[in-house]
């Protein structure tokens, strides 16, 4: 079968499997968060708005962490459709609505603070890195475990990383305040993070040559062999 036909046939089922509820919840939360200053306290300050946008991006990224959840994972694994294609399709289907949502979030935030210019590009970079991290973590969970729902683990890890970056803000300059001396270097770091996470996804999307064996069903030696197979 030609690849185009496969992709066309996969589009609808893949779209149906995407975590739309999670996206609606996370996206809705992000919108509410950035709308609050505009509605209630317009003089909240650009710093707080930047942080709100970060929280909104985190909410969206957490939803995206559920993108590879697939109850039918073990049945689909035997089909002659490679995993990179399946995962790529899901991400491609997710991108446009997420991009639109982020544009709306930025618009709402900008409407709330009309007298100062928000660092839109830099924050979009941060949001993209967070989303890429979510995808990378989920792909890693798929690659290295037999979970059908890697979303919770990926989302939990992403949250833990975000909180750690907040707590260790002095040592890990990622979530720096707008206008800080480290703003430029922080965003170089975000770019590196985005590239690394995307690369991690690409690597993890490739199917291992051997079948992943459930840990408990096999003696440990076989499990190790299974996991180290490429």
């Amino acid at each position: 079968m030609r690849r185009e036909t496969v992709v066309r046939a996969l589009l609808r089922p893949a779209a149906r499997c995407l975590p739309w509820t999670a996206l609606a919840a996370g996206g809705g939360l992000g919108l509410v968060l950035v709308a609050v200053p505009g509605l209630f306290s317009p003089d909240i300050g650009v710093d707080a708005v930047v942080n709100l946008l970060r929280m909104a991006a985190l909410g969206g990224a957490l939803a995206i962490a559920f993108v590879f959840d697939d109850p039918a994972r073990h049945t689909v694994a035997v089909l002659p459709v490679p995993r990179p294609l399946r995962q790529g399709l899901r991400v491609a289907l997710l991108l446009p609505p997420v991009a639109v949502w982020w544009a709306v979030v930025l618009g709402v935030a900008a409407a709330g603070t009309d007298d100062v210019a928000l660092p839109v590009g830099a924050l979009t970079g941060e949001a993209a890195a967070l989303c890429a991290l979510a995808v990378g973590l989920a792909a890693g969970a798929v690659r290295f475990t037999a979970l059908t729902a890697p979303g919770p683990a990926a989302a939990g890890t992403l949250l833990a990383l975000f909180v750690a970056a907040t707590v260790l803000a002095d040592d890990v300059p990622l979530l720096v305040p707008f206008g800080d001396d480290r703003w430029e270097s922080a965003h170089r770091l975000w770019t590196v993070l985005l590239l690394l996470a995307s690369a991690a996804w690409v690597v993890c999307a490739l199917e291992p040559r051997r079948r992943l064996t459930p840990a408990r069903a096999q003696p440990p030696v076989i499990v190790r062999t299974g996991r180290s197979g490429r």
Binding site: A22, A48, G151, G156, V167
Partner: protein
């Protein structure tokens, strides 16, 4: 058919309670060993070692108690996710149907999950108590802690855990827990400046930034906030039980009772400080002498809020150090060192009218010391005293003459460790509790040059020409010549200052 219309209710018995407790025990162990919770607990316990804060001295206990809440908040959020994951485990693994045939109804399992958060709560409570005991026994710890503030951290852990259980029962996806965590983080840390009526609805109210207040002036409704958290916790647990089918009279009554408690706590915590407290704060801010204890040590009188009296002997070291550098008559003049706070917009002030951002200057013959002590506090007091010796005036102003140089040199030399602290900063500003001594580049260069010279020799020269140095018309060139250094020329930036 009619028999099967309603699910069979398990009889209330000791056996049912035992089963709930047994399940709670198993789940509690799994909760404590959940990776997120274990990592959060380890991070929380190791943080004081990592940041070096375990070495802090001169803690003010009415600050320490509320600073104890941040770590538990993060542990609690991990607990939320873990408890949420535990409740949804049977759904995730497709074993919900198997549980359906057990005698134990789903709502009792929910209750067991809610109870499973208790051991984590106790672990956090023990950690809070241990850390507080450590800080309270450090040298120079003063003040009084509030048990309710200390209890808030563990109560948050319990509430978040039960909230995780509730979310698991309401939404069959772990995404709800993650979203809740983001929402909690946002309302706690990003909306830091919420209006008074709303801010106490957030589990953690930090009140950071202001200098510590005497404990009787702290207006945080900690007790009502703790009650509010207890109410919310029980309410969340009861609603979770109701949502999983436990519609018994006892559960309904618990839910209603918890709702009442929550509402009561909410109402009480947003009423704001009492009139008596507002009056006490006014008095402590505008007329501190009326509530302070004074001790005389040599020619200096130290007046402190009663809780801070143990610090007087340490203040004395700094004051005597700075005084010994001054010449007569200033060196033996009577001096009052008065501790002052701005209590009007302090911790959860809900300050009424007349909020003063900064304290007004004190009367002549008095210098101000704050409620913070430690390296920074030492230098601050030294600045206050040096200013009192040289100009005896706590009004703002940049001194572009000999007096500026003299004050800075005395403060840096008089405070223990002051030279090292000043060498580290590249700025030309030192902060006293009330105001700062700010120097222009020119005067700053003279001070730094003076610090290069032997201190004893400079001190002798200062004493010898004291009368000339403190005259308002003594120029920077003059002080440099008298003390044996050269002053650089005035820069363009220097000329932009408004000199006193």
């Amino acid at each position: 058919m009619t028999v099967l219309d309603r699910p069979v209710q398990a009889p209330e018995s000791a056996g049912a309670v035992r089963a709930v407790l047994a399940l709670a025990r198993v789940e509690a162990r799994r909760l404590l060993l959940h990776p997120m919770v274990a990592i959060a607990l380890a991070g929380y316990l190791l943080w004081p070692l990592w940041s070096g804060s375990w070495r802090d001295t001169h803690q003010v206990l009415q600050e320490v108690d509320r600073e104890s809440q941040l770590g538990p908040l993060l542990v609690g959020l991990a607990g939320l996710l873990a408890a949420n994951s535990a409740v949804l485990r049977s759904l995730r693994h497709g074993t919900e149907a198997h549980f359906g045939v057990l005698v134990m109804p789903p709502w009792r399992r929910t209750v067991a999950h809610a109870l499973s958060v208790l051991p984590l709560t106790l672990v956090v409570a023990a950690a809070v108590a241990g850390m507080f005991a450590w800080e309270a026994t450090r040298p120079g710890a003063v003040g009084h802690a509030s048990g309710f503030e200390l209890a808030t951290g563990p109560l948050m852990v319990l509430f978040f855990g039960v909230l995780g259980v509730l979310l698991g029962r309401l939404v069959p996806s772990m995404f709800a827990g993650a979203t809740a965590v983001v929402a909690i983080l946002a309302v706690t840390f990003v909306f830091a400046v919420l209006p008074d009526g709303v801010r106490w609805l957030v589990p953690l109210v930090a009140d950071e930034g202001a200098a510590p207040l005497p404990s009787d002036l702290v207006g945080r409704p900690a007790r009502w906030h703790a009650l509010y958290l207890v109410g919310l916790t029980v309410l969340a647990g009861a609603v979770a039980a109701l949502a999983s089918g436990g519609r018994t009279a006892a559960v309904r009554a618990t839910a209603l009772g918890a709702l009442g408690v929550t509402v009561a706590g909410t109402v009480m915590q947003v009423t704001g400080p009492s009139a008596a407290l507002v009056e006490a704060r006014e008095r402590a801010t505008r007329d501190p002498a009326s509530v302070q204890e004074c001790l005389r040590r040599g020619t200096t009188t130290y007046c402190a809020f009663p809780e801070f009296v143990p610090w007087v002997d340490e203040w004395r070291v700094v004051v005597d150090g700075v005084r010994s550098l001054a010449g007569e008559p200033a060196a033996s003049r009577g001096l009052v060192v008065r501790q002052r706070v701005n209590a009007l917009d302090g911790p959860s002030g809900g300050g009424p009218s007349g909020i003063v951002e900064e304290l007004p200057p004190g009367p002549r013959g008095e210098v101000t010391v704050s409620t913070v002590w430690g390296d920074e506090g030492r230098l601050g007091l030294a600045v206050s005293v040096a200013r009192g010796m040289v100009v005896d005036d706590e009004n703002h102003g940049v001194y572009c003459d000999a007096r500026g140089v003299l004050m800075m040199w005395m403060a840096v030399n008089g405070a223990p460790g002051g030279r090292a602290a000043f060498a580290r900063t590249q700025t030309s500003t030192l902060w006293s509790p009330l105001l700062e001594i700010r120097l222009r580049d020119r005067e700053n260069a003279v001070v730094r040059a003076l610090l290069e010279r032997p201190a004893a020799e400079v001190a002798r020269q200062v004493k010898a020409s004291w009368a000339e140095l403190v005259r308002p018309d003594a120029s920077t060139d003059r002080v440099a010549a008298l003390l044996g250094v050269t002053a650089p020329a005035e820069t363009a930036a220097d000329r932009e200052w408004r000199c006193a």
